[in-house]
């Protein structure tokens, strides 16, 4: 974006950039809608859920837990979505020059994929808020459309287990993980190390006790180890040079 495009042009460029995510979201949304319908949610409720929550993993959690205790449901959704706090913090310096309304919108539509995609595309400073809002909105509309379609199919067709749709979320995370690791080419080994460590801690914690908090603990341990390992390596390089 070297020439300064109009707000409309920036928004439509953003929407175009959303295409790969939108395709994935329509598909995963379809899966989420089917799963929601099978859990007893109506198509209208699934629609409302995807409009207000716009969070894939949390919506699978919602379908799973909404008939149980409300506090467990809300606490689990909070923990599963707490990673957005870290995305928003990471994104924050690049959008501080935008007006509060634009920042609110960008934050409200923050998801794993749009964050990953935007981080790799916008560099150190987001020039046009409308670009990011366009990108987010493209993904958002595809998500809602997929969800409602899936819920309607689920209501009509009943069980569609054979399609393997419950694996859609895992496939999404696999794609995201590879994207995240590749985001900075120079540090791929360290990033692979952090990913493996997070997975290992997650498994160990699960043997001890399956708990929604395990996700946060595994994340904090692995990210801290990554910072520590790089500090140790830097010191080793300095000592060699000395």
């Amino acid at each position: 974006m070297q020439h300064s495009p109009t707000t409309f042009q920036a928004a439509s460029l953003g929407m175009r950039a959303a295409a790969p995510v939108a395709v994935a979201y329509a598909g995963i949304g379809l899966a989420a809608g089917v799963v929601g319908a099978e859990a007893g949610l109506s198509a209208a409720e699934v629609g409302l859920l995807s409009v207000l929550l716009f969070a894939g993993s949390a919506q699978f959690v919602f379908a799973d837990l909404y008939t149980g205790a409300a506090t467990v449901l809300v606490a689990t959704v909070f923990l599963v979505n707490l990673r957005h706090l870290l995305y928003a913090t990471a994104l924050s310096p690049r959008v501080q020059h935008l007006p509060p309304g634009a920042r609110f919108l960008i934050g409200a539509q923050l998801t794993d994929e749009t964050f990953a995609l935007a981080s790799s595309l916008i560099g150190t400073r987001l020039h046009h808020g409308a670009w990011m809002i366009g990108l987010n909105t493209g993904a958002y509309l595809a998500w809602i459309g997929g969800n409602v379609t899936g819920a309607l199919l689920g209501e009509i067709a009943g069980t569609v287990d054979a399609l393997g749709l419950e694996f859609a979320l895992a496939g999404m995370f696999a794609a995201l993980l590879v994207t995240q690791i590749r985001a900075q080419r120079a540090r791929v080994p360290m990033r692979v190390f952090v990913a493996l460590l997070a997975g290992a801690v997650m498994v160990l914690l699960d043997y001890w006790q399956p708990h929604p908090l395990n996700l946060m603990i595994a994340t904090a341990v692995a990210a801290t180890a990554g910072v520590g390992a790089r500090a140790v390596r830097r010191r080793a390089v300095r000592e060699e040079a000395a």
Binding site: L52, L53, L177, V203
Partner: protein
């Protein structure tokens, strides 16, 4: 096509706890500059979260604690990672993973 009031309450509560972490850093942190070590830590967070979630989806799928070794999940998970490395496409990875998973379920 009904919307139950209690579902609306639950969805609203979930929305609130999702929205606050999403928007608060963007609204509050005007001119906030984080220390380099915190910034570095934050770059590792998404990788760690997603890796942990992926492990949860593929290896920790049963009710009981510990690794489940469900063959469809493990094989489809490995296939999805390979497709992701080769194709660099979220859509292809999801589609391929689901297809392998469905095929494995048909076989086992």
């Amino acid at each position: 096509m009904t919307i139950r009031p209690e579902t609306v309450v639950l969805i609203s509560a979930c929305m609130a706890v999702t929205l606050v972490p999403r928007v608060l850093p963007l609204l509050l942190a005007r001119r906030l500059s984080l220390p380099a070590v915190v910034q570095e830590w934050l770059t590792y967070v998404p990788i760690a979260v997603i890796a942990a979630l992926l492990v949860d989806q593929i290896l920790l799928v049963g009710e009981r604690p510990g690794i489940t070794w469900s063959l469809p999940h493990v094989v489809a998970g490995a296939a999805a990672l390979l497709i992701a490395v080769a194709s660099r496409s979220i859509a292809l990875t999801v589609t391929g993973g689901v297809a392998v998973y469905a095929a494995m379920q048909g076989l086992t």
